[in-house]
């Protein structure tokens, strides 16, 4: 039987961050993820690296954590963060008293901010509403969630950490009140495996209740669904927050070539089977248009939903979604439930993933008697970006490749030098070359990809306007040519992928994206018949909706 010191359940930001933290402390760990990396809430959020501004008034404690983590992440993971800054926008009709309250709270918390007149704000962001009242600047930023999770995992792998994707935990073996091993199943092959360990950390996010149950423990959790929209191009260069009590449709985050509008807040029974309805989408757009009227015209490319897993503290069960603290919780099930060596880390938000991981790692280290302190706040996730030969790829493609692949970029460029045909842009929207695709599908990739959707999460392939219609085909063909898949498997891959990409497009309103999808149906001979207006589309738990 395989053995390790710690098993981490969940391949989101928290799990990946924990793996990295433990690796830095020299603690052996295996991360088990039931799907692929960043499948849950991590991969289904704005990618907003909070400055704390959003919580400044309501929850100063969370805000203070945010601004501290904001600074740390910009330092340790610059390749994952686009330090674009943000604006808190004062819209017509919003409460001026709140603006002042916000301003005081922000300065108390030390969130750097300055006041902008309406003209100055519009000069920075021409798509802001012409009748806005003013704005405050903040150090909000965008973080590429997939890249962040990869970066943590890759850094951990280099220090001996291990990751298994498509590994669904079936049972946490507890013998005499102490965790002994974890049994899991490789969902691709159906094979059962077991790994002996001293400690299990449940970082399963929305699935934490299910994971805890495998050890016979109950963790009360409420799933709060947020729906988000991806717009085809950036409507703002900065993160835009509406300066009012947090509500729906009031955050717009520029994310690479696209921008993301969110979000809603609805309690749902669980993390699986999420749906986005046309009404929700229209509501989001209507609300967003108050701040950015251009949303009325912009092309919605995709809708997706994720759950915020909110831990229910006793007595707070009845409170509505946004009232429950977004702060996180660490449960030691030895103390709480008599299951020693089992820890759950729950709640929290993307911005504070590192802090959550650090606290969880502290608890693990204490139980294992390891003295090493946390250093994830100072050790960069990735070494300096290497120099790459220029002239083999277009400038923009090279820039994106280097940011995505870091130390692996030079060898990808070298592959193109030897075989110029590998310079082909498989994904034209996100400039993913054939050479990069071959690397990601190949044996040298730190986190090998099993499906086209996996390739997407590692490269952003298929994240552009065609939503996989063109690049999916080329990537499938590459998988065949690289001997990853037989012709039959390759076609099955493509069908699954296209179907998956369509789910996020079906509920969106009439417009160019539906034309785009119709073109895809014609190309692949798919049934064009689903009526988007009437049919809420299930986004099954296993889908990767970004």
């Amino acid at each position: 039987m395989d053995s390790t010191q710690v098993v981490i359940i969940g391949g989101g930001a928290t799990g990946a961050g924990l793996l990295w933290d433990l690796s830095l402390r020299g603690i052996a760990a295996v991360l088990l993820e039931q799907q692929d990396l960043a499948n849950g809430a991590t991969g289904r959020c704005h990618g907003l690296l909070h400055s704390g501004g959003r919580y400044a008034v309501k929850d100063p404690e969370a805000a203070a954590e945010c601004i501290a983590e904001n600074r740390i992440l910009k330092r340790i993971a610059p390749h994952c963060v686009e330090d674009c800054g943000g604006l808190f926008v004062q819209c017509q009709g919003d409460d001026p008293a709140f603006f002042e309250e916000w301003w005081r709270a922000a300065s108390t918390l030390g969130i750097p901010s300055s006041r902008l007149s309406a003209e100055a704000a519009r000069a920075l962001e021409p798509n802001l509403a012409p009748d806005l009242l003013g704005a405050f600047t903040t150090p909000d930023a965008h973080v590429d969630v997939f890249r962040l999770v990869q970066a943590n995992m890759e850094a951990a792998l280099a220090r001996g950490g291990r990751v298994r994707t498509y590994a669904q935990v079936r049972k946490i073996e507890v013998v005499r009140g102490r965790v002994q091993s974890v049994r899991f199943c490789d969902t691709r092959t159906g094979e059962e495996h077991q790994v002996r360990c001293e400690i299990v950390v449940n970082a399963a996010g929305g699935w934490a209740r299910e994971a805890a149950a495998l050890a016979g423990v109950d963790v009360p959790l409420r799933c709060d669904k947020g729906t988000l929209l991806v717009l085809n191009h950036r409507l703002s260069g900065r993160v835009l927050n509406r300066c009012r009590k947090a509500g729906d449709g009031d955050i717009l985050v520029p994310a690479g070539p696209v921008c993301i509008l969110g979000t809603s807040s609805v309690t749902v029974p669980g993390p699986d089977g999420l749906t986005c309805t046309a009404e929700e989408i229209q509501d989001l757009l209507n609300l967003g248009e108050v701040m950015v009227p251009a949303l009325a015209e912009a092309r919605v490319m995709r809708a997706f939903a994720g759950v915020r897993p909110l831990y229910i503290r006793s007595g707070a069960a009845q409170e509505a979604g946004r009232q429950v603290s977004r702060g996180f919780v660490l449960l030691d099930h030895g103390e709480r439930d008599g299951v020693h060596g089992f820890i759950s880390v729950l709640g929290g938000k993307l911005t504070t993933y590192r802090l959550m991981a650090a606290r969880a790692a502290d608890a693990v280290a204490a139980q294992l008697g390891v003295q090493v302190q946390c250093s994830t706040d100072t050790v960069p996730l990735r070494a300096e970006e290497p120099a790459c030969a220029s002239g083999l790829l277009p400038e923009a493609a090279l820039e994106k490749l280097v940011v995505r692949r870091g130390a692996d970029a030079p060898r990808i460029v070298e592959a193109i030098r030897h075989q110029p045909v590998l310079a082909e842009m498989v994904c034209e929207c996100e400039l993913v070359s054939r050479a990069e695709l071959d690397f990601i599908l190949g044996p040298d990739a730190p986190l090998p990809a099993s499906t086209l959707a996996d390739v997407g999460r590692r490269t952003r392939l298929g994240f552009g306007p065609c939503q996989g219609t063109f690049c999916g085909f080329r990537a499938m063909l590459a998988g065949f040519q690289d001997h990853r898949w037989s012709a039959e498997e390759a076609v099955a891959q493509l069908h699954a992928y296209i179907e998956n990409r369509r789910k996020g497009q079906l509920p969106i309103p009439e417009g160019k994206q539906l034309d785009q999808m119709a073109m895809g149906s014609d190309i692949y001979g798919l049934d064009p018949g689903l009526e988007p207006e009437v049919q809420p589309i299930a986004l099954a738990g296993g889908d990767h909706v970004r």
């Binding site: 950036r234 070539p257 092309r299 306007p465």
Partner: protein, 401 residues
């Protein structure tokens, strides 16, 4: 066509733009309008470094825009990229001149004979190629003393204004005289206001600020006419295209609004005469003898969306048989074909047109665009003319009779 920043959202990645791009047809390495336009546009908005020498190779023919089933303003995105593109010094210097044809013409006006002579001397041209990157194989048009502005007298049908553009002003003022006679024949008084270059060469050479300056100058002279209801006519399809579509995007605020108003007063000469003909006020006359004329529709006529009015007008002339060529872009694209590094490409683009002209065996080729005519003469040796010349000749013959 969408001309706002949402134009990029209309792209469905279908690549139809690439299927009509004349440059892609002969230069396989050229990334094409889809890549240089909407695809890189999303990256430009993102702030990624997207500059590439290839943007210089866009002809600005607008065929991609017309082929797009979703009205993406592809070539405007490429033109904007040209404006921020960085070129090596030699091309920068040369393109500075190419962006200012009116300035070049003013130099020529001092002593056109000397100017023409020196431009025809082989050693001069070799030197120009070495120093400035202007192809020695490309003949220059002959320069004249130029064209003077004129004001309009009274006439039964009122006043029209004529915008000659650089070529007619500097190289063929006789065409302006013919335009005046044609319009007077229709009963109009013709004014030729003082104007400058329309700005097409500036935009094509990445000098957006210069194009904006030219637009302001032209607007200053033309807007009052437009505002008092005087139609403004051009006989150059590129000038017409620019005056109709180019100014408002270069200017801001009130000026941009005035540019839109000006645009609606701009008429291609053929478009104007066709309307006169449709309303029964004008008809071509007969020409002695019979001639077969091939007709080449310039890209910038197509981009005006007015059909091909000259085909019908020429068909009105008794004795003239018109053969529309429909054989693609000529490849000249104004100053493009003069550039040393683009000369070959320019000729290869024109190849299918040249072949078609040889096939048709017409005595002459008519086209509204001056540089299309230069390219056709250079590529085929066939005589070229502006279609207005035939029409004017027929009217003149008729009145002599």
């Amino acid at each position: 066509m969408r001309t706002d920043s949402f134009s990029v959202d209309n792209c469905l990645k279908c690549s139809l733009c690439n299927t009509v791009c004349p440059v892609m047809g002969v230069e396989p390495e050229y990334p094409g309008p889809k890549r240089l336009g909407p695809e890189l546009e999303r990256m430009r908005v993102e702030g990624v470094a997207t500059d590439t020498t290839w943007v210089e190779y866009c002809l600005g023919c607008h065929r991609c825009d017309l082929a797009c089933p979703n009205q993406v303003d592809v070539s405007a995105m490429i033109a904007a990229a040209k404006a921020t593109h960085r070129k090596p010094l030699q091309r920068r210097l040369r393109d500075w001149w190419f962006a200012r044809p009116a300035l070049l013409a003013r130099l020529a006006f001092v002593a056109p004979a000397v100017f023409n002579l020196s431009l025809s001397l082989k050693p001069v041209r070799v030197l120009m190629e070495r120093v400035m990157g202007i192809s020695s194989r490309r003949p220059f048009p002959r320069y004249t003393h130029g064209l003077q502005p004129r004001s309009a007298a009274q006439a039964p049908r009122g006043r029209v204004a004529f915008f000659p553009g650089c070529y007619i002003r500097a190289n063929r003022p006789d065409l302006a005289a013919k335009v005046v006679r044609l319009l007077e024949h229709c009963g109009y008084a013709v004014e030729i206001p003082a104007t400058t270059c329309c700005g097409v060469p500036s935009l094509a050479n990445g000098a957006a600020a210069e194009a904006a300056a030219q637009a302001r100058t032209n607007l200053e002279h033309l807007a009052p006419l437009a505002e008092s209801g005087v139609p403004i006519l051009t006989a150059c399809s590129s000038c017409g295209h620019m005056l109709k579509t180019g100014f408002s995007g270069l200017l801001e605020g009130d000026l941009s609004a005035r540019a839109n108003q000006l645009a609606s007063a701009i008429w291609d000469l053929g478009e104007f005469l066709a309307r006169e003909a449709a309303e029964g006020r004008f008809a071509g006359a007969a020409l002695a003898g019979k001639q077969r004329v091939a007709y080449h529709a310039p890209c910038h006529l197509k981009s005006q969306g007015i059909g091909q009015p000259w085909v019908a007008l020429l068909r009105q002339i008794h004795g003239v048989t018109v053969e529309p060529l429909d054989a693609g872009c000529c490849g000249m694209s104004g100053t493009y074909g003069f550039k040393q590094e683009k000369y070959e490409l320019s000729m290869r683009i024109g190849q299918s047109l040249f072949e078609r002209i040889d096939e048709v065996r017409a005595e002459s080729v008519a086209s509204e665009c001056a540089t299309c005519r230069m390219q056709i003469e250079h590529g085929t040796g066939t005589r070229t003319l502006h279609p207005l010349e035939l029409l004017e000749e027929s009217i003149a013959e008729e009145s002599r009779a």
